[in-house]
Subunit: 151 residues, 2 copies
């Protein structure tokens, strides 16, 4: 009984397309052993790694960021519970921040935008402190222009 997975097996089990898996390997997010033929073989541990990758993406992280997170895992043994905890621990804070922003957005939709009583220049509902923002190449943030007060 083979304990390793082919690329299509891994794809089926993870829900991540084979082409994406090759891309992830190329970008250094996952690894594979090669058979003499050149065919990839993945260990089952890769499944957990993939779960982490998919989760992190849902949090709005780029593959580059995810990669550097994954590099914090030990390489001398297959990462286990405690190893993953080290990574995921600080993430709770990250998630909480994002949740807080969503709460602000929710309030903002109800108040800032709807009622119109609030001047948009002073609106700091969107990501007020965190400049790093994570939702890809979107527009820039609503930061307000301190010097203009004529509206």
């Amino acid at each position: 009984m083979e304990t390793t997975l082919t690329i299509n097996q891994l794809s089926r089990r993870s829900g991540v397309a084979a082409s994406a898996l090759r891309y992830y390997e190329e970008r250094g997010l996952i690894q594979s052993e090669r058979r003499g033929s050149g065919h990839r073989r993945f260990t089952r541990a890769t499944l957990r790694r993939l779960a982490f990758i998919v989760f992190a993406q849902r949090l709005g992280m780029s593959l580059a960021e995810i990669r550097s997170e994954l590099e914090k895992l030990p390489t001398d043994h297959v990462p286990k519970g405690a190893d993953w905890s080290l990574l995921s621990g600080p993430w709770s804070a990250r998630i909480d921040e994002r949740i807080a922003e969503l709460e602000r957005l929710k309030t903002g939709l109800a108040q800032c935008i709807s009622c119109g009583c609030l001047s948009l220049e002073y609106c700091r509902l969107v990501n007020p402190h965190d400049k790093a923002g994570a939702l890809g190449p979107g527009p820039h943030y609503w930061l307000g222009d301190q010097s203009s007060t004529d509206d």
Copy 2:
């Protein structure tokens, strides 16, 4: 006193780059009147529209989706509080779903990934019901493969 704004005034007040504003206009998200010279003039109402656009983007919506939301606004008068409420109302639910997903992710990071006791194939922490997903062209979701139970 002019009540309309030039593209750079609008840019400064909204924090959205002028090039992005032209792009939004091209894509039908905002409108402008043109002077004889061809120069754009935006009404102040565009500021609120932009706030909505930026907020919606932070929620992970694409410009196409945002555009179709904006098309629900009345065109016979400048949208006011009640009009915006009609749009933003249903969004609270959307935001709540997203928050709920983040809560699941938080739990998932602690349990599903870290402890490893949970087989990834059964993990539905990520966006279990909502197929529309909104974080851009990411990978596909972790949906689990009902038929494979050999792990």
